[in-house]
């Protein structure tokens, strides 16, 4: 899984760039696919739309999911991932600006694996990315159902 794909669902180009940089800083060299909104993320995961020729059985090693997204929001994407047998056990980490209790509670209710609040301080963010990479790409054994 060290070489699996990471699906980054993020609409903000700055955040995309900073996230890629943070991963690179931690020597996480996995291929990163970027989906700019919830709909695109679902098309990628289930091999539909512009990703119709993709084999959905090729699962990403990790999904980094923002909550506030155009078209289909992050919580809906999470719900559909958990509703489908093909993606049910996939590790999903919510990576968001929101520290709202309601977002946190809903995410865990829908079966998220981790909830990480993006810190303003980039140095802290790099550290968070390192921990995520270490846990979900190296230590974690697949397949797993919900929970850390």
């Amino acid at each position: 899984m060290i070489n699996g794909t990471i699906l980054l669902v993020e609409d903000n180009p700055d955040d995309q760039k900073l996230t890629l940089r943070a991963l690179k800083k931690n020597n996480i060299l996995n291929e990163v696919v970027i989906a700019e909104d919830g709909a695109q993320a679902l098309e990628y995961l289930f091999g539909t739309g512009q990703y119709a020729d993709r084999d959905p059985r090729q699962r990403p090693a990790l999904v980094l999911l923002d909550l506030k997204l155009p078209k289909v929001d992050g919580l809906s994407v999470l719900a559909q991932i958990r509703a489908d047998d093909r993606t049910r056990t996939m590790p999903v980490v919510v990576l968001t600006s929101s520290a709202e209790e309601q977002d946190l509670v809903k995410s865990y209710e829908l079966g998220v694996n981790s909830y990480v609040r993006k810190p303003v301080d980039f140095v802290e963010f790099v550290d968070a990315a390192r921990q995520l990479g270490v846990y979900w790409l190296i230590l974690n054994a697949q397949p797993r159902m919900h929970g850390l």
């Binding site: 940089r21 600006s97 929101s98 520290a99 709202e100 810190p119 303003v120 301080d121 980039f122």
Partner: protein, 591 residues
């Protein structure tokens, strides 16, 4: 009239009737007795007659015997035979008449053989005259036997006569005695009857007077009553009205009596009034019915009705109360409530907007901050060789500013969240919390000399998370503002205020000028320059909101360089939710 009084009168009349009955019975028995007495006298006379008949028959027999003995003429035998036959008949009759008396029977028994002997003796003398001649018969008579018998007969008859007289006297005496007792009884009954009738008469007069008095009282109440009292007919007209109608409506009583009462009812209330009257016709009383009546000046008064139908009289008895003022007050209250509801809806709307706002603040304001900080860091890392010291310093300042703004946004969100979160209520050990916070503060600066004085066992009911944030802020402030002191002294305790428990956090720090106490609890209000002490300026605003959500109050005392003391109460139960309406001891600057 009360039933008891009616019963008493009926009983009185009954008694009087009874007395009259007794008198009547007495009269009847007296008539019977008089008839009895007359019969008794007649019987005595009959007995005496029969006694005389016996005696005269015997005397007739003796006269015939003597005449025949002297003359020998058979002419004298006729009275002899008549006497002999008649005496037997008279004796039988006499004995039958006196059968009821033992003594007279004895006399009869004594008389019968005497008469038989007399008859036999006389028959013998007559026979002797016939057979042996005058001289033999004269001698037989002269022997005196017949005379002796005759004397004895006379004695017995005289005895019987006396006996009969005595019996008559005796019976009359008994009858007279009985008559006198019955007479007294009748007299007494007559007297009682009269007394009773007189009493009844007095009672009736009294009753009538009392009724008159009660009628007068009722009339006075009717006239005096502040409520409107009336009697109305089933025909839809008033029959009688108390003066309160005139006072309330302005119409004269005559005007009100002249038209059907429905004419005075507000057109919108007529249908309801008619159906209420219909119910009354069916015998259902009105407990509370409200309608509007027109006044003479054209205005309307609200009346509340209570009525009772009396079917046998075909009347409605009703009282009405003027409730116009109450109605108007109710309308005003309803209007105020509606206004309040509009205000509350507006507040809810504002609150929802605020929530949406803070949610997007949390997301959208932080994203550009991350870019500012992140790309500054990119410059510092990737282009360090092309930046001089001043350039690097500028980028560091950009990063610090971004960090500060991030903290401010977080603090602001935390402040707004206090009003949005659902409050829990459970026992919270403030003393234990204070100890934990104190230990955490010491760890941040292990080198500082500081003394915490924490009163043990202070337990309150409240939300543990919010109370921890509140104590954390107060103790954190105290920790921060005592830093310039050689030895910090920070105290957490409680005292009895006016009927409530007051908690306080005091320190020996730099204090503040009481002139600015009003700014202390406002968001982003600071009494010290940023360079002196760090912080967002939101801590005390947060503390105040937490105290208010627990229905408490908070206030501060202090002086420059004399330390500060923050006192608060926790009103018991926690306020329900952040509706935006809350107590404000100190004005809060807009967040």
């Amino acid at each position: 009239m009360k039933p008891s009084r009616t019963t008493a009168l009926a009983a009185g009349f009954g008694l009087a009737l009874g007395m009259l009955g007794i008198v009547r019975l007495h009269h009847e028995s007296r008539v019977t007795r008089l008839q009895g007495a007359a019969a008794l006298v007649a019987r005595t006379h009959e007995v005496q007659t029969q006694l005389n008949r016996v005696l005269s028959s015997v005397e007739g027999l003796e006269t015939g015997e003597r005449g025949f003995v002297i003359t020998g003429d058979p002419m004298h035998l006729e009275p002899f035979d008549v006497g002999r036959l008649r005496v037997q008949d008279a004796l039988r009759t006499l004995c039958t008449l006196t059968r009821d008396s033992v003594r007279q029977q004895e006399n009869c028994d004594a008389l019968a053989p005497l008469i038989a002997s007399k008859v036999e003796r006389s028959q013998r003398n007559v026979d002797l005259r016939g057979s042996a001649g005058f001289e033999a018969a004269r001698q037989a008579v002269a022997e005196g036997e017949g005379k002796a018998l005759m004397d004895q007969i006379r004695v017995v008859i005289a005895r019987m006569d006396a006996e009969e007289q005595a019996r008559l006297g005796e019976r009359s005496l008994v009858a007279a005695r009985e008559a006198s007792v019955a007479g007294r009884l009748a007299t007494a009954a007559e007297g009682m009857g009269i007394i009773l009738l007189v009493t009844m008469f007095i009672l009736l007069i009294r009753e009538s007077r009392m009724r008159q008095r009660m009628q007068g009282q009722l009339d006075r109440f009717f006239t005096l009553s502040l409520d409107m009292l009336c009697i109305a007919g089933m025909d839809g007209y008033f029959k009688r009205l108390s003066p309160a109608f005139h006072r309330t409506l302005g119409y004269t009583t005559e005007e009100l009596l002249a038209r059907p009462f429905l004419d005075f009812v507000h057109p919108d209330d007529r249908a309801a009034t008619l159906s209420e009257v219909e119910r009354l016709h069916r015998g259902i009383p009105t407990i509370s019915f409200e309608n509007r009546y027109q006044c003479r000046d054209g205005s309307w008064r609200w009346l509340s009705w209570k009525s009772q139908p009396v079917a046998e009289e075909g009347l409605l008895y009703a009282s009405a109360r003027d409730i116009t003022e109450r109605k108007e007050a109710e309308e005003r209250i309803a209007q105020l409530n509606a206004d309040l509801q509009v205000g509350a809806n507006h507040l809810r709307e504002v609150n929802r907007e605020l929530e949406t706002f803070s949610y997007s603040v949390s997301h959208d304001l932080r994203a550009p901050l991350r870019s500012i900080d992140g790309f500054s860091q990119v410059l510092l890392e990737d282009y360090a060789d092309r930046l001089d010291g001043e350039g690097r310093d500028a980028l560091q300042r950009v990063r610090r500013a971004a960090a500060t703004m991030g903290e401010l946004i977080d603090a602001l969100l935390a402040l707004s969240r206090i009003n949005r979160v659902q409050l829990r209520s459970e026992p919270v050990d403030l003393s234990a919390l204070a100890e934990t916070i104190a230990a955490e503060l010491r760890q941040t600066q292990p080198d500082r000399q500081a003394e915490f004085v924490i009163a043990p066992g202070l337990v309150v009911d409240g939300d543990p998370t919010l109370l921890r944030a509140m104590l954390g802020n107060l103790l954190g402030n105290a920790w921060k503002y005592t830093e310039p002191r050689g030895t910090a002294r920070i105290e957490f305790g409680s005292r009895e205020g006016s009927g409530e428990r007051v908690y306080f956090v005091s320190d020996n720090g730099v204090g503040f000028d009481m002139a600015y106490v009003g700014k202390l609890f406002g968001a982003f209000q600071r009494l010290h320059r940023q360079g002196e002490f760090g912080g967002t300026g939101i801590g005390l605003a947060t503390v105040q909101r937490i105290v208010h959500r627990h229905c408490g109050r908070i206030w501060a005392e202090g002086a420059v360089d004399q330390g500060a003391s923050f006192s608060f109460t926790l009103g018991g139960q926690a306020a329900d939710s952040g509706s935006g309406l809350e107590r404000t001891d100190v004005p809060i600057a807009a967040a």
